[in-house]
Structures are given as C-alpha cells and as structure tokens.
Symmetry: C2
Subunit: 347 residues, 2 copies
C-alpha cells in the first residue's frame, strides 16, 4: 500500500496525499478529511526509506553503550546494572517524543566506525553515549564530523573545534563529597577510597569530591587510603583486601567506594576477613543500584536521578536534531545521599 494507491482511492493526486501527510496548510478541509479517511482505512504508512531519501530525517536515535572491558564474560554481556535502567529511561522518553531507539554496544574502537556508518547512511539522526571514557578522541571526532550527539558523564569540552554537542552529568563531585562528609560526620577519620575507572569522568570527579571533604576536615589522606579499581565487583574485592591488609597499622574504619558494584565486592572481602559491617568498617557506595537495598546490611549510597538525567539528555538531543540549536550545552544534575545500614557512628 503506497501513496499512489491512496491517491487513486481518494480521487486526488499523489502530491495532495503527501501534503496531507506533511500537514501543509493549503489543502481544502474536505479534501484533507477524505484523504485522511482513506489513509486510516487502509492503514497506510509512508515508506521510511523513501522519505529519508527525499530529504526527511530519520526518527531514530542511537544509544551507544560502552562495555566493561575487564572482568568475566558473563558480566560483559549482562551489562552494567547502572547503565541498563538509564537505557530504558532514554528509550521511554524518546518514544514519548516520537523517536525510536537503536542500541549499540561499544566494545572497541572499531565500533566507532559502525556509528559513523549508521550516521552516514542516514539511519540515525542523533545519538547518546553512555559509559564512555572521558575526553574520548573517538567521540570528539564524531562531534567534529557534525553528527548530533549527547554524552552522559563527560567533562565539559573546551576544544575550539569540538562544539555543538550536549553533555549531561550527575553531580559526581558533590555526591562524593556528601558521601565522605557523611562518614566524617559519623566520626570517622581514617577513611579509604576505592576509586573507579579513572578513564571515566565519574571516577575522576568522585575521587576529587572525596579529597575535598577530607581536606576540608583537615584529615590527611595517607597513601594506603587510596586503591584503584575499575567499577567491577572483582576490583572492589581486590581493592578492599589491599586497603585492609594492614588494618592494624592503618586503623581504617570506613571506606567510600566509587560505585555500588565495587562496594558489593568490598563487602564480600570485608566479611571474609571476619570484620563486621558497619561495626568494624563502615562503607558507602554510589549509584543506588537495586541490589544496594537488598544486601545485608543495606548499603548507604548516593543516588543519581536517572529518570531526570534521561529526560534532560533526550529532550535536548531531540531539540538539537529538530531545531539545530545546541551550542555546547552542559548540564549538572544534583544527587541525593541515601543513608542505610552500612554506616554507623564511631563511638
């Protein structure tokens, strides 16, 4: 069923059908009504490719999800539990605005070529990066090529030739500050930090937030307080072991983990050392993934407003696509500390 046949059935020309579909003003009301009736009756839908070829832009945006590199195969495929609801929220919001969503999992730099292909072949008219590295040259390249892109969790881009993009971050810095401050307020002094992947902006900013709170309280950050993980559970386990191996010497009483997944690994390690949470070690995570409220003890953590971030990034991207007016917009969304059972006052 094509527009030619609709035209015949409605007794008008194909151009008139096209004008009805595209809401032109100069169509007689009764003609319009007649054509619309036929369209509805036969369930006609324009051929998207033909439309695209004739100059209409596609109503599809991409979601580009960075895969976790290290760790086991299972985790690789099953994907980041923080990212997954983010994806769902974006799909939902895009749908509300009449857009479909194509999901791509980015494993290596080869996959950036796929993105380029999808844009060049006019399948996508925009895209959102999730979990990307900070300052990614590949993303800069795509933005420079003029593709309409938004990035979650990315430093403000100051390069002169990289403009026209959207960046939405949660306030990682303040979140990490609040988390650390919470431990300080509870009387802890020897507070360790399990860093996330330092290639991600969130990893960097959360470390900064931790430093800020410690500095503000005039607490010295000893070398042994810091361990470098990569946001995976395994790395959390290893980092906790490393941090606590000289516990008698270090007197560490609290850990701020850069995300919940690592915090879970750390909790396993802590329990295995026969230390109690929170009596011996208080621990704070970040992200408020679903498991956080189920583990025992329930994890104190920082919650990012995923729904809000997804709305902001999607609305802005689609506005950018349709109006063409984004001049490097940069958003920071506030976060919330959720106090549960994994932290307690030092007596």
């Amino acid at each position: 069923m094509y527009s030619k046949e609709i035209a015949k059935l409605a007794g008008v020309s194909r151009s008139t059908v096209s004008r009805v579909i595209n809401n032109y003003s100069n169509v007689a009301p009764e003609t319009k009504e007649k054509v619309e009736r036929v369209i509805k009756e036969y369930g006609y839908v324009p051929h998207a490719s033909a439309q695209a070829l004739a100059g209409k832009v596609s109503k599809i945006i991409g979601i580009f999800i960075a895969n976790i590199r290290s760790g086991d195969e299972e985790y690789r495929v099953f994907r980041n539990v923080y990212i997954s609801p983010f994806e769902a929220a974006i799909i939902d919001q895009a749908d509300k605005l009449g857009y479909n969503t194509l999901v791509l999992i980015i494993n290596d730099n080869e996959d950036f070529k796929k993105i380029r292909k999808l844009f060049n072949s006019k399948i996508l008219s925009g895209g959102i990066f999730l979990g990307a590295n900070n300052n990614s040259k590949e993303i800069f390249g795509l933005i420079e090529s003029g593709y309409k892109l938004a990035v979650i969790d990315q430093e403000e881009i100051k390069k002169k030739n990289v403009k026209n993009h959207i960046i939405v971050n949660s306030d990682n810095y303040t979140g990490a500050y609040k988390a650390t401050k919470h431990l300080i307020d509870y009387g802890h002094k020897a507070i360790a930090h399990i860093c996330g992947d330092m290639n991600k902006y969130s990893g960097i900013k959360r470390l900064e937030g931790y430093r800020k709170a410690m500095k503000e309280a005039r607490l010295k950050i000893k070398r042994e307080y810091i361990a470098y993980g990569d946001f995976t559970e395994d790395s959390g386990f290893k980092c906790a072991n490393q941090i606590l191996k000289d516990k008698n010497k270090n007197k560490i009483t609290a850990i701020f983990s850069s995300n919940d997944t690592m915090a879970l690994g750390a909790m396993k390690a802590i329990k295995r050392m026969d230390l109690r949470i929170p009596e011996d070690i208080s621990i704070v995570g970040y992200d408020d993934i679903r498991i956080a409220s189920y583990v025992s003890p329930a994890l104190t953590t920082v919650r990012s407003p995923i729904l809000e971030m997804a709305s902001v990034v999607t609305d802005n991207l689609i506005n950018f696509i349709e109006k063409g007016t984004s001049s490097s917009r940069y958003y920071i969304i506030p976060v919330e500390l959720i106090i549960r059972e994994s932290t307690m006052k030092l007596t």
Copy 2:
C-alpha cells in the same frame, strides 16, 4: 560522499562501483581493487535508505519488550531484571551477525501499531518479542501479516493460518518440576506456590511443573497452597502473607515462587512475620537474577541459559530473514537448579 563521486575518483562508472560493493563476479580484479581502495580511503558507506528503496532489506531487527503493567512507576521504567540481560545478549549476537537492533518497549496495544509501522516502512526486517503474553492475538496478527518474528516464552502455535515464526522457550515445566522436587526431596510436604502472571506462558508452565511434582509424590495441593501473583515484588509480598496467614493451621514449610523477584517480596514478608528462612520456611525462586545470590540467605533458584536462548533465537531469526525458510520452529532449552541457602532439609 556518494557512489557517483567514488565512481569519478576511481575512473569508472557508478554501476561498476555498485557491482563492487555487492560482490558481482564480473568485475576485473584490478578494477575491483582500485574501487575498493577509493571506497576505503574516503570511508564511503552506501546510503541505507537508498539501498532499502532499491530493494535491499534493512539490517535492523527489533526487540519488543513487554512492560510490566502493575506496580510502581519506577519498576515500570527500570524494566524487568530478567529481561534486561536477555536484551543485551540478543544485541550482542545480532551484532556478531552484522545486524543492528532497535528496541521498543510495549506498553499497550497501540504499540503494536508502531511495530506494524516499522515493518511497513521497511525499517525492520525482523523482530523478537520478550515478555509477551501467551497466545497474544496481536502477535498472531503480525505473524499473519508475514512479518518475520520470533517469540520467547510462548506456547507452540497450532493455528493453521499462523505460521512461519520462531518460538524459543526455556524448559519452564521441567524447571518448576525440579524446584518442587527439590523441596520434596528435602522432606517438605506442605509446599505452597506463588504463581506468576498467568497470561505468560512461563507462569502457566511453572504452575504445571509444580502440580506434576506434587502429584507424582502423592501430595495433595490444598486450596491455600496456591496464591496468584504477577511476577512483581509487591505481589510476592502479598502472596506470601496470604499463604502464611493461617500457618498454624496449614503447616506450610516451603514455598516455590514462580520467579525470583516475587521470591524477594516473599522473603520480606516472611522476615516481617518473624519467621526464619530456611529454618521455618524454605523458599525457591526462578530465573537466577543477579540479586538472588546476594540476598541473605542466598536464594535457591532455577537458572535459564539466557545466552544460549539469545543465540538460538537470534541465529534462527536472521536465518529466517535471509533464507526465508522457517516453518514454525519450536525450541525448548534445558534449565538448571541452583541450590543455595534458602532451602533446608526438614528434620
């Protein structure tokens, strides 16, 4: 950058470029090599819409994910924790076969029209349903229309006019049988079942598996043993309360929940009644979602081989798309019982 320009740069005609791209045999090797060099140098990619219009089929498949109806907004958007890794595994497998994936969340019947649109406009060349209701008229309609579809968790379709589709199920019947049998082997006799959504094939078959095991052991299924949930945590909570409210009379010592999410809700309810798991009540879930191994006590459950199911369904669908040869294939994938801490022998 279009094929016309490539042709000019390579000093050949546009048709020759097309023949090179589409691997025709009658192109001189040196010509072919020359054209390929230019294509690579300029990173040329054919305009997908133009290709589609000229008769090539799109390399995009849809993943249609049914949303949970009841329950809170958060859960709605954040999506089913069982479905989410499934989606990831399908995307991964499709990518390996050179296909991209468009994800659609199905909230109501209106959304089936969207699917029709996507097929009619030639954006999609196939699709996979996740979490769909059993015997869905809407899906039957789409299959009848000739769209190439696969469905996870669906009864074998016997209607004469509904053919050419692929169905992949995990062995829900045997899984539920194993779960119940496990409890019986542990000496339990008064075993309750929290049913899942009876609109889903998995909900139906798991109840059947439970019945089979009970019958085989000559255990009577009292009316109070059965409670009807809908796969959400809330419903699990309510069902457990209902089942256990006359505990002194019923002597129920074990519960088989139709999925893990409801089992979590049930565990909350059980704890709130000051009963111990597994000392007072043993509980078995289904799906082996990630949280299952983190809760305390860790949940005994049934694991479906998600990766395998995703491979089977994706491989078959793409084969169907490319070769056009599927005559109602029906697959059942075996499952595995994972025994953890939430079940114990009755002494």
